[in-house]
């Protein structure tokens, strides 16, 4: 097995353990929500990782449309799949946090709805890739992902553009501020989940390249068989 991958996996697991400790035991308890607010460290970090994955998918898709290099197509697929995993985490942890704090599991506000739409777009991207038999599947998927990525901007900006049930930003431009110890825990979890996402993309990319090479080998044999 790839030695670099194993070393990176060990570093990532150590970062996740450290991030967990920071989130659960070191970060102070939020005054109004109590311990339930600690979901924040996984929820926000997962959302950040999902956005990063979808952004990488868009870049890879654009490069693929220009170059038609199967390596970039494999990378685009890997990034989209891992992005859907993180987005699923966001959609599951969000309601678990919302219920005790808002009194409801779900509301159709701009942030929640656009996140669900983002998830649906990329699930449809994966279904297209899984079930389409046309030779142009990677091209169609690349175009779909570029349009889907526009929703990432909408999801991110929705709490600034609209009045939403979802809280306003606490970090970045227009943010309401965060206790330094909470910010510290959040940043470690950002880093840990970003590394975890990179590790998953790396592993999925290796598998997709192997799949592509097997398909190529079968295609070559079929052509050689016809030639004889």
């Amino acid at each position: 097995m790839n030695k670099k991958l194993i070393i990176f996996a060990i570093i990532t697991v150590a970062l996740l353990a450290y991030g967990f400790r920071q989130a659960m035991f070191i970060a102070p308890t939020e005054e109004t929500m109590g311990d339930i607010q600690r979901i924040f460290y996984y929820h926000v970090s997962s959302a950040f990782s999902a956005f990063a994955c979808f952004f990488l998918n868009m870049v890879a898709s654009l490069v693929y449309l220009k170059s038609r290099n199967p390596k970039t197509d494999a990378f685009a697929l890997a990034a989209a799949e891992v992005g859907v995993v993180f987005c699923t985490v966001v959609l599951v942890t969000g309601p678990l946090w919302a219920k005790p704090v808002w009194g409801i599991w779900w509301t159709w506000d701009a942030r929640l709805t656009s996140t669900l739409v983002l998830w649906l777009i990329f699930v449809s991207y994966l279904l297209l890739r899984r079930f389409s038999t046309a030779g142009q599947t990677p091209v169609l998927a690349a175009v779909l992902s570029i349009f889907g990525s526009v929703d990432v901007v909408f999801v991110y900006m929705s709490i600034r553009w609209f009045r939403t049930q979802h809280p306003q930003p606490v970090m970045g431009p227009g943010g309401g501020g965060l206790d330094p110890r909470m910010a510290h825990a959040l940043l470690w979890n950002f880093l840990a989940f970003a590394c975890w996402g990179a590790l998953l993309i790396w592993m999925r990319y290796i598998l997709e390249r192997r799949h592509q090479l097997i398909e190529e080998a079968y295609a070559m044999r079929a052509v050689q068989g016809v030639a004889r």
């Binding site: 109590g34 311990d35 996984y42 995993v85 985490v89 599951v92 942890t93 598998l207 192997r210």
Partner: protein, 40 residues
């Protein structure tokens, strides 16, 4: 309240572990296909 915190953390890792399992099954299938390709 605290129950939802544990549920959220458990759900997060259940989703990631399910994906890891999917990757492992894909790896096994590709390895099998490669062996079949070598045989032919």
């Amino acid at each position: 309240m605290i129950r939802n915190l544990f549920l959220a953390y458990a759900a997060t890792w259940a989703i990631h572990l399910a994906y890891m399992r999917f990757l492992a099954s894909k790896y096994a299938r590709l390895a099998r296909e490669e062996r079949e390709l070598e045989k032919k």
